[in-house]
């Protein structure tokens, strides 16, 4: 069953089109990374999925209309929208009380168990916690909620590398069980590469790439080309070319691995590099067209 299904999802703020009639589908049990430059429409897409903004087009989340049935939907959906949205005045014990009071699927013991592994005291106020601890607290709340969809919008923004690593480790080990779905946007793409099962690039309100990670690995290859073979490599129509330390690195889409092996070292590109290849090209083309 599809967890999220969007057809012709469209959202404009005044004359600015944030989402340009996009289609996408997320199956249950997947971890989808939505990658895009600033202002590409990632947050707008997530807000539509969470029923925070009205939209045009068709959108079903867990079989519900998120705008019209947001209250019901929020029993099955959790989100960490940006960092530090926990109210600063609240105490850790109070936030546990409150979520336990209003959320039918919250397991308080689980949250307290998770918190006991951190240095967060129950009587501390959020404003006295460090940024990393606030995110840990929010994660403890979210992981104790038996939800079917978890949406993370830049969950690790501003955290140091240890907290970021810990965050994704907890998510994978203690939360993800292959029946839940996770949607995540981030600029720290490298840390996500081994976590994601699916990938979506958004640029200027449009989906420019949408594939599973298996497809991604099968389709895209990067070759560090031997200097004498650059010309023959270029003949295979790479989608992107860059120079690193005087060597040419070419990115190919759907070119047989065997042929590329003759040209140089072949490896799977990082998501970040592919992003630059796909979205950077588009930006270049647009600039060229504008000229």
């Amino acid at each position: 069953m599809a967890c999220i299904e969007a057809r012709g999802l469209h959202k404009a703020f005044g004359t600015t089109v944030a989402l340009d009639s996009i289609d996408f589908r997320v199956e249950e049990g997947r971890i989808l990374g939505i990658i895009g430059p600033n202002g590409a429409g990632k947050t707008t897409a997530l807000n539509a999925v969470l029923g925070l903004i009205p939209y045009q087009g068709e959108l079903r989340v867990l079989g519900r209309d998120p705008w019209k049935e947001r209250n019901l939907l929020m029993r099955d959906v959790c989100f960490i929208a940006d960092v530090a949205v926990l109210p600063r005045w609240i105490r850790v014990s109070q936030v546990l009380d409150f979520v336990a009071g209003v959320h039918p699927r919250f397991d308080r013991a689980k949250a307290e168990d998770f918190l006991s592994q951190t240095s967060i005291g129950l009587d501390r106020k959020v404003k006295h916690l460090s940024k990393g601890m606030v995110v840990q607290l929010h994660l403890a709340l979210v992981m104790a909620i038996d939800a079917r969809l978890l949406v993370l919008d830049e969950p690790t923004l501003g955290l140091d590398i240890l907290f970021r690593k810990q965050f994704y480790d907890s998510l994978l080990n203690d939360y993800f069980d292959r029946s839940r779905t996770i949607l995540v946007t981030t600029h720290q793409v490298e840390e996500l590469q081994h976590i994601l099962t699916d990938l979506m690039f958004i640029d200027r309100g449009r989906v420019v790439l949408s594939c599973s990670m298996e497809e991604f690995e099968a389709r895209y290859l990067e070759v560090t080309v031997n200097p004498d073979q650059v010309a023959s490599a270029r003949a295979l129509k790479p989608i992107y070319e860059r120079q690193v330390f005087g060597r040419t690195i070419l990115t190919f889409d759907r070119v047989e691995r065997g042929r590329l092996l003759q040209l140089g070292e072949v490896h799977t590109p990082s998501i970040a590099d592919l992003f630059v290849a796909v979205v950077g090209n588009r930006a270049g083309m647009a600039q060229g067209a504008a000229r």
């Binding site: 807000n47 019901l72 989100f79 926990l86 009380d97 409150f98 009071g101 209003v102 959320h103």
Partner: protein, 303 residues
């Protein structure tokens, strides 16, 4: 479990599931109100502080009365004054707290972005707005009632202690205070005026709080001022000001007529109050404001 096989138990299970539905609907409101009290401790601290301050003054005054050997009830600055002042001070404090609470209630959560956290939980916008409305029209009046009763009781105890053995009849002191009659009037006043009559004012403040891009205080108080000025210039009339005065002073202001000595709370007999059209237009207006407030909270994100 087997309701289908046993039709006799259906009405029971229906009422049971209805009860469960009511409890489930009330839970988020209950917790949201508790949440408001966690966040805004001024809701109870301010009236308590006012009462404590008043009691300090009251004690000094009682001791001075004793030293001058005056009759505490007959003296011009005696217990009668304190008796009338204490509720006014405590309820007035609650009123001011309520105004500032409302202005910040839906603005503050957008400013500190915590609205995103509240919206990530299964609490509807209706439940959120109603629990915020409950603070000025139910919680604050209730708190000020309890504090007022406690204050008056303390004044009586203090004066009993101070005047013990001075020849003043202590039992008469208690009898004259009508300690057991006044609370009913205060409660009635709080329910009718603070709860019902002022509801449109609080609803207006909540609506502004949900809408204002910044400075909710200005948005709440400037527009009425501008309307008054515009009306004055355009038609040289003051109908709008009249409406505002009527709303602020209460229906009792008109009913009491010229007899200023009469406390307007006591003129508010239920039958009179309920048949005042102003009450119902006010409540209709409050409902409209709240409806818009809920819509605004739904569509507005953090600032």
């Amino acid at each position: 479990m087997n309701t289908q096989s046993n039709p006799a138990s259906e009405p029971f299970s229906e009422s049971r599931s209805f009860a469960i539905a009511v409890v489930n609907a009330a839970r988020p409101v209950y917790w949201s109100i508790r949440r408001e009290l966690w966040e805004n401790r001024s809701i109870y601290i301010a009236p308590v502080a006012a009462a404590v301050l008043f009691l300090c003054g009251s004690l000094i005054s009682i001791v001075r009365l004793r030293l001058r050997m005056e009759d505490p009830w007959k003296s011009p600055h005696g217990l009668m004054d304190q008796y009338e002042l204490a509720p006014a001070l405590i309820m007035g404090t609650a009123l001011i707290v309520g105004v500032f609470y409302c202005l910040d209630a839906l603005y503050g959560e957008r400013r500190d972005r915590s609205i995103l956290f509240w919206k990530s939980l299964p609490v509807s916008d209706v439940a959120a707005v109603l629990s915020k409305l409950a603070v000025p029209i139910a919680i604050l009046p209730l708190i000020s009632f309890v504090i007022t009763v406690a204050t008056e009781f303390t004044i009586l105890v203090l004066s009993s202690v101070v005047f013990a053995g001075s020849g003043v009849n202590i039992a008469g002191l208690w009898a004259q205070s009508s300690f057991f009659r006044l609370p009913a009037i205060w409660l009635y006043h709080l329910v009718t005026v603070h709860g019902l009559w002022y509801a449109p004012i609080y609803a207006w403040l909540l609506m502004v709080s949900a809408w204002a891009p910044r400075a909710p205080f200005l948005w709440a108080f400037l527009p009425p001022f501008v309307v008054w000025g515009a009306e004055k210039i355009a038609f040289n009339t003051s109908y709008f000001l009249g409406i505002l005065q009527y709303r602020l002073l209460g229906p009792g202001a008109g009913m009491a007529g010229n007899d200023h000595s009469e406390d307007f709370a006591t003129t508010l007999i239920p039958h009179h109050f309920l048949s005042t059209p102003g009450l119902w237009t006010g409540l209709a207006l409050a409902t409209a404001f709240l409806f818009i407030t809920v819509r605004l909270r739904r569509s507005r994100g953090p600032i």
